[in-house]
């Protein structure tokens, strides 16, 4: 229990979904500048529990990233460091 509590304390801020907070921002696969905030340096999609997105917008982000990858606007993976 103690360890669990400590872990929770290290993330005190409950993030709000930025797309719910600002409805002007539209999720579009043609906008890699926006989408790159939701991938890691390796190019993996950041999970919802870390990005703080709501389920609906995380789903939109995911499809947008996958589309952007298909058309080479975003990488599937970055070159692996040896």
């Amino acid at each position: 229990m103690v360890a669990y509590k400590r872990r929770r304390r290290s993330f005190p801020r409950r993030k709000v979904c930025r797309f719910c907070a600002d409805s002007n921002v539209k999720i579009d696969y043609k906008d890699p500048k926006l989408l790159k905030y939701f991938i890691t340096e390796r190019g993996k999609i950041i999970p919802r529990r870390i990005s703080g997105n709501c389920a609906r917008h995380q789903r939109e982000i995911t499809t947008a990233i996958k589309r952007a990858r298909h058309i080479a606007l975003m990488p599937y993976t970055t070159i692996q460091p040896h």
Partner: protein, 171 residues
């Protein structure tokens, strides 16, 4: 009719004539099957996130059009056959669109509205806050704090040394 959007990449070593030829060919495919091209936007040469057919750059073209599902099938078949086109992606934007209404409602007015709203909303609060903060920081506290800190440091340093010495003695 449905509204589709196709983003495709043309080989980087193609000339302006090649790009024009590709545009004419693709538009011809759509109009030939009773489709309607709403917009054809050449976005210019961009670098690719990964190599496609050993190319690391390409001309991106975004095309917005109306048509039935057969139009998309025929268009993609043509794109697959054409060596100048590296890759394509088709997305359905809307079902059951009336072709007469579409050309009138081009997405330009929306963008203008967005830009003006952003311009009006964003800068004001930021600037005010910045100026207030800067003014508050610069005016009085810095000099006072600096003097106080220096004085405090000078005062403290001998004490610290003394206390350390005392600790050593105690040990």
């Amino acid at each position: 009719m449905r509204r589709y959007e196709t983003l495709f990449i043309v080989t980087p070593d193609s000339s302006d004539e090649d790009l024009q030829a590709v545009a004419d060919k693709i538009k011809g495919v759509i109009t030939g099957m009773n489709g309607k091209v709403a917009s054809y936007d050449e976005q210019g040469k961009k670098s690719l996130a990964y190599n496609i057919k050993k190319q690391n750059r390409g001309y991106y073209v975004l095309m917005d059009y109306l048509g039935h599902a057969e139009v998309v099938a025929e268009l993609e078949r043509n794109m697959r056959l054409d060596d100048r086109i590296l890759k394509y992606l088709t997305v359905k934007l809307a079902d059951q669109v009336d072709p007469a209404t579409v050309v009138a409602e081009e997405p330009k007015p929306r963008k203008q509205v967005d830009e003006t709203e952003v311009a009006a909303e964003e800068p004001k609060p930021r600037e005010q806050v910045d100026e207030a903060e800067v003014a508050a920081e610069e005016a009085k506290p810095r000099e006072q704090v600096d003097e106080a800190e220096v004085a405090a440091e000078e005062a403290q340093s001998p004490e610290v040394q003394e206390s350390e010495e005392e600790e050593k003695k105690e040990e």
